[in-house]
């Protein structure tokens, strides 16, 4: 017959072993997550004092050259310029995550987004508040590090234009500048010299507008 105190000691020790095993496993998980976070060098989003809302992104895939729509829960500010910048920043930095199907360089990509009224369009029936031109000011560090190639550069522009079109219906045209200056191409291929019509890029390829904003 095992004495009672020995049984109590046995069960106490068994419980302690299980507790320590559990703590060890949790510690391993935390260390693993910390290591992964070091590899993911995308910037930490600035804190936004707004609730998350379902937002549609137009996402690029290099494997098939397609743009597809996807819904994400994103916290966005209300002010339109800040909202557009935060939206595009989120879109482009997500492409830098490991396993991306349209890999882009890590780091902040969009300096600012401005909305300008397009002259002569404020009476438009479709846009009673006036059709607008969105000027996307990309960072030079992003453009210079962007993969150089026709497919990759075109898909980045289509993803940006499509996402702006879906979330800002009043935008009729999109123009790109880099570090506040006009630039011929994104990184050797896709044309940035002229504005693009804002369209749903899931179904439409890009073709830029004439310098006067009319369709070529």
């Amino acid at each position: 017959m095992i004495p009672r105190y020995q049984r109590i000691l046995f069960w106490t020790m068994a419980f302690a072993i299980l507790l320590m095993a559990g703590l060890l496993a949790r510690g391993c998980e935390k260390a693993h997550a910390r290591l992964n976070a070091i590899q993911d060098d995308s910037p930490i989003a600035a804190p936004i004092d707004a609730p998350e809302e379902p937002t549609t992104l137009e996402l690029a895939n290099d494997a098939n050259g397609f743009i597809t729509q996807e819904q994400r829960l994103i916290a966005l500010p209300h002010e339109p310029s800040g909202r557009a910048r935060a939206l595009l920043e989120r879109l482009l930095t997500d492409y830098a995550l490991p396993g991306s199907v349209h890999p882009l360089p890590a780091g902040s990509a969009v300096a600012d987004v401005f909305f300008l009224d397009l002259p002569g369009t404020h009476t438009s029936y479709a846009h009673p508040t006036g059709a607008q031109l969105a000027v996307v000011n990309l960072k030079g560090s992003f453009a210079d590090a962007h993969p150089s190639g026709i497919e990759s550069e075109e898909l980045t522009l289509r993803s940006i234009i499509g996402t702006l079109h879906t979330n800002f219906p009043m935008v009729e045209q999109v123009r790109f500048v880099v570090d506040g200056q006009p630039r011929d191409t994104l990184n050797g291929h896709a044309d940035l010299s002229q504005p693009y019509p804002a369209v749903d890029t899931v179904d439409h390829p890009l073709h830029n507008l004439a310098p006067d904003g009319t369709r070529q």
């Binding site: 098939n64 050259g65 190639g149 990759s152 073709h207 006067d212 904003g213 009319t214």
Partner: protein, 278 residues
Amino acid sequence: MTRNPSRARLFQSALLLGLSCAALHAQAPNPPRSTILIDPAHGGPDNGARLAADLVEKDVNLALAQRLRSLLAERGFNVVFTREDDPPAQADGSRPPAVTTDQRAETANHAHPLACLLLHATNGGHGVHLFTSSLIPLTMIDEPKAVLNWETAQAGSIPQSLRLVNELSSSFNSARLPLVVGRASIRPIDSLTCPAILIEVAPLEGEGGAKTPVSDATYQQNVAEAIANGLISWRSHAAPAEAAEKTVTPEKPAKPASPKPAPAKPAAPAKQEDGDKP
């Protein structure tokens, strides 16, 4: 030595036959155009993509173009290049100016080729990417234009360019080379009057994630052979005479980079935006 009259008559008939054949040949219409225009993109100070520490896109484009030229010459094509080489830097370190995209378009439009191939290479994506211009094709209701606009000259050739992509796609599929097909207006494709496509070669992804780089000689040769086979098929299907009749040399603006003349419409949002730029 006696002359054999029947042999003399035979000789005369043969001579007449030969002469009449030569005369007939001279009167026959020109043989089908079989010129292929190849544009190895970038060059000079424009390196294109950096593909490896010691490899830039302009050199890969030229290497692929040279492989393609050999294969096409063997198959009876006449090949015209927009740039033959990459001029080295001069003693003072400066480089001769690159062949501009407008100059490339001029070379292409003057050659009246059966097809124009604009070659690029990249590290992004997988397999071969084929693009035609994203211009809206001219339709039957469009007024026939005596002179094409330099910026949109390709609009009249979009249907042929799409058929050319189909021919090349079949050839790439037969060669089991992965393919992405799309529309993109990368200079100077919109200024070309020939059936034109952009061919961008990306690394091959094998089983287990092993990558074959675009600099791989066997891969380049396979791509070149697929293109050459596609062009043979294109030569037999295309209607050269019809295409030649339709070809109108577009009017190139006096200053290559200058925009189109302003239209009568007052709205000029892009120009205004230039003034308002941040």
